[in-house]
């Protein structure tokens, strides 16, 4: 049985601290810069996004076709969705950031569905690593402050004292919890799904992991969507104008 053949290697060997893909020595020092597999996967995803975006906008037509058509469909749909949350004009302003977040997370979740992912050592979706999701969440956290201060100046900090001044501490805790919950939600979902697929794959490599992979298709999209939705809600709350 394949279970005994593969089971001896220990559970979840490819998760957690794996050895890096390669170790770069920083010139002039003795420090080493480890480059992990998920960082390489992340680079590939960035490259795919940048390349297709460049291809789509390189030679634009009034009647879109090919890559441009696909991109226009995606961007229009997402901008429409963000417009429903924060209004049309703000969606055009903050949409590029939010759309990039959504597409990066979506592709990175789906990179776990490539045959061999989660079963080959080191080949895991970048979002199944808490460092990557924490980086994304901190990016959202900082962008709330950046966009908020840019839109409202010093008045942005007034919302910490609303609706009542004594809620200040509560508002600060709520603000600090946001990146924690954002990063843990994404990481937990993707890591859990990948672990189940890999453990099932070790026991019965054929057919059995398939239902979980199907669930992964749904979950990957939902998690990317939830992340973008929450980021847009936060940014909308930070940049809203009172009338």
């Amino acid at each position: 049985m394949s279970a005994s053949a593969h089971g001896g290697e220990g559970g979840g060997v490819h998760h957690g601290p794996v050895e890096p893909f390669l170790n770069l020595t920083i010139p002039g020092t003795e420090y080493q810069l480890p480059i992990y597999h998920f960082v390489v996967t992340s680079w590939v995803i960035m490259f795919i996004l940048a390349l297709t975006a460049w291809l789509a906008t390189r030679n634009m037509h009034r009647l879109p076709k090919g890559v441009q058509n696909v991109w226009e469909y995606i961007v229009e749909g997402l901008f429409g969705f963000f417009g429903g949350i924060m209004g049309e004009s703000r969606a055009r302003k903050y949409g590029p950031f939010l759309t990039t977040l959504f597409l990066y997370i979506l592709l990175s979740n789906y990179s776990g569905l490539i045959p061999g992912a989660a079963m080959i050592k080191g080949f895991v979706p970048p979002t199944s690593n808490v460092s990557i999701t924490a980086a994304l969440a901190i990016l959202v956290f900082l962008s709330i402050f950046y966009y908020g201060i840019r839109a409202k100046g010093i008045g942005f900090f007034k919302h910490f004292f609303q609706p009542m001044a004594f809620l200040f501490i509560l508002n600060v805790v709520e603000e600090l919890v946001r990146p924690v919950s954002l990063s843990l939600r994404l990481y937990g979902n993707v890591y859990g799904e990948e672990t189940i697929i890999s453990e099932l794959g070790k026991m019965v490599p054929l057919i059995v992991p398939l239902p979980m992979m199907l669930l992964g298709v749904l979950l990957g999209a939902i998690q990317a969507f939830v992340f973008a939705l929450l980021a847009s809600t936060y940014i909308a709350g930070a940049t809203e104008e009172h009338h």
């Binding site: 429903g84 949350i85 209004g87 509560l170 805790v173 709520e174 939705l229 909308a236």
Partner: protein, 74 residues
């Protein structure tokens, strides 16, 4: 606005999927932050208790804010 109705459905799904972790992370954050502060100031167990309650309250407020976002126009 037919388009808006469609997006409302997606929004509801997103909120429901995110509610659980928001609450859990708030409580956890409150507890851990209180624990760390207690170690720092040597006031065990008071700050842990206070921060735990604050975290829980902040979680409830975060859920409220998600469900009823302040309406901002264009």
């Amino acid at each position: 606005m037919k388009d808006n109705d469609k997006y409302q459905g997606y929004r509801a799904v997103g909120l429901i999927m995110s509610a659980g972790m928001t609450m859990a992370a708030s409580v956890l954050f409150g507890y851990l932050a209180g624990n760390w502060l207690d170690k720092y100031f040597g006031t065990k167990p008071w700050l842990t208790l206070i921060m735990f309650l604050l975290g829980t309250a902040a979680g409830l407020k975060a859920l409220y804010d998600l469900a009823f976002p302040k309406k901002g126009g264009d």
